[in-house]
């Protein structure tokens, strides 16, 4: 464990999250929390068919969890549902570029968990209605 996880990029995203906000006509709102610390992340997504059209988040939490979700959103904007399904934890951690200790893994991965839950529920609803 070391303080390198607080590198410039993380702090920048934490202090000025570009993807923070809400979407008035979101297709999916997904929310979860980390029961250990109480961190909460909510992601709102608007789809354009199979593709993410717009995506925003709101959250309360530590620098790692909030910066992570902001970085995540930058990375998956405009991607298709299939691409997100195939986007693995390892891929995301590589993208973050920091070594995360086990207890902070949940912080770093909370956003991804919320995103995937949201996408799956969108798929479920879509499959049901067709």
């Amino acid at each position: 464990m070391s303080l390198e996880i607080y590198h410039e990029t993380i702090l920048a995203h934490y202090n000025n999250p570009g993807n923070s906000g809400v979407i008035s006509d979101a297709d999916v709102i997904s929310k979860d929390n980390n029961p250990v610390c109480g961190d909460v992340v909510e992601i709102q997504v608007k789809f354009n068919g199979e593709r993410i059209d717009e995506i925003k988040f709101q959250g309360q939490g530590c620098a790692i969890s909030l910066a992570s979700v902001d970085i995540l959103i930058d990375a998956i904007k405009g991607k298709t549902v299939d691409q997100i399904k195939n986007f693995r934890q390892e891929d995301f951690l590589k993208l973050l570029g920091i070594e995360i200790s086990p207890l902070r893994l949940k912080c770093a991965l909370l956003g991804l968990k919320v995103l995937k839950t949201g996408v799956y529920s969108y798929l479920d609803n879509n499959t049901e209605s067709t």
Binding site: N33, P35, V36, G38, S101, L103
Partner: protein, 403 residues
């Protein structure tokens, strides 16, 4: 398997009782602990102790990791599918209470039936009796006169009302292994849930939940070299997910509002409050120890000892063997005119520890027509010489009672 070397790992075996070396023949009640397990506990408290899951500092990280690694060890040990299926409990009794109080209470209704056997331990009887107030019927499959389960009766007693079948894998009195795969298949074909009490089997043979295909399995660490107060409830994820928590409070929640709360994910939904990291670490070390020796070897060793004990006991006048024909790992017996407590007490004078009493199996005692039995049980650290000493010492009992 080098028993002499194994014995060196168990400090308590050096103990003297009334100037005799301890001969511990009560491992089916609770096993002794190897130095590896004792040291694992010591090291945990000297190096890593913290309340897991709750904070962000290094000790907490380590304690959390050790606790969850122990869970993964159990997953592999019984071949479960994943961590979510392994709930750490205090002992087999608690595991059974979770099944009854958090599953059966909510899912069974008047007219439904639960099928047990007469050879069950109280842990697999008394919790189920709670269901009777809902109008659920508890039924007991009998044993045959050779001490094995009467499978014909079991099949006869299955009906469309049988919602749960709960059976011990190995009897703690008869030593018999029940045909658990067959019972599982019959249960599932009948649409019944299948519960296995593994308290006596998991310590000394390979138990594979995927192979058995049980819906729940319960066992206790203290009978398999681990510390007291750590045990396991295995449950299929689909079932655990549908269940309400048993205990409520901290750690098992996701969010607490004044008047409602949401539950944490599996397995933590069933683990309220500060967990037993020490116990989990001890259990993990115990599993390492058993796997290093090989459970097949442990089983084989117990078979040899049981065979030897039976051969020797057969020659003792007045002894009546009560174990089943296919019994293993223990001998339960009766000595004519002498109560089991008096046998145990007199053997203790020579350093020999055996169990006496009703074995927490009063219904089976009644079925066998006895009020109590004496039981010698064997584990990886016991030797034929110890069994000889035990059998020889029965003469002292007879002398006292002038039989």
């Amino acid at each position: 398997m080098n028993v002499e070397k194994i014995r060196e790992d168990f400090p308590i075996l050096k103990r003297k009782i009334n100037n005799h070396p301890l001969v511990f023949l009560d491992s089916a009640s609770t096993s002794q602990k190897p130095v590896q397990v004792i040291n694992a506990i010591k090291n945990y408290y000297e190096m890593n102790n913290a309340n897991p899951h709750r904070s962000i500092y290094q000790l907490c990280d380590e304690a959390t990791q050790m606790y969850e690694d122990a869970r993964k060890k159990v997953v592999k040990f019984i071949n479960a599918r994943n961590d979510e299926e392994i709930i750490f409990v205090r002992n087999t009794n608690e595991a059974m209470n979770i099944i009854v109080q958090s599953y059966a209470m909510d899912n069974l209704k008047e007219g439904d039936e639960v099928l047990l056997t007469v050879m069950e331990h109280h842990a697999n009887i008394v919790p189920w009796q709670m269901l009777q107030k809902k109008g659920v019927k508890i039924k007991f499959v009998d044993i045959k006169d050779d001490g094995t389960l009467d499978m014909d009766k079991l099949k006869d007693m299955m009906s469309k009302n049988t919602k749960i079948v709960s059976v011990t894998h190995k009897s703690n009195v008869l030593g018999s292994l029940n045909p658990i795969n067959e019972i599982g298949k019959i249960s599932h074909d009948n649409g019944s849930l299948f519960v296995v009490d593994g308290a006596q089997s998991v310590p000394n043979m390979q138990v594979d939940v995927n192979n058995i295909n049980c819906d729940f399995l319960a066992f206790s660490g203290h009978k398999m070299l681990a510390p007291m107060n750590i045990g396991v409830l295995y449950g299929k994820k689909e079932i655990l997910e549908r269940m309400e928590p048993f205990m409520r409070g901290s750690d098992m929640i996701k969010e607490v509002q004044l008047t409602e709360s949401t539950w944490n994910d599996l397995p933590w939904k069933f683990e309220a409050g500060t967990p037993n990291v020490e116990g989990a670490v001890g259990l993990s070390t115990a599993i390492d120890y058993l796997e290093k020796i090989g459970l097949d070897n442990v089983e084989k060793h117990e078979e040899d000892l049981t065979k030897h004990a039976l051969e020797r006991l057969r020659d003792v006048e007045g002894v009546k063997i009560l174990s089943a024909k296919n019994g293993n790992g223990m001998v339960s017996f009766h000595l004519s005119g002498v109560h089991s407590h008096d046998i145990a007490y007199i053997l203790n004078d020579s350093g020999i520890a055996i169990r006496s009493g009703h074995m927490c199996a009063q219904p089976l005692m009644r079925r066998l027509g006895v009020q109590s039995v004496a039981r010698a049980s064997f584990y990886l650290y016991n030797t034929k010489e110890e069994i000889d000493k035990f059998v020889d010492s029965l003469e002292n009992v007879k002398k006292v009672f002038k039989k």
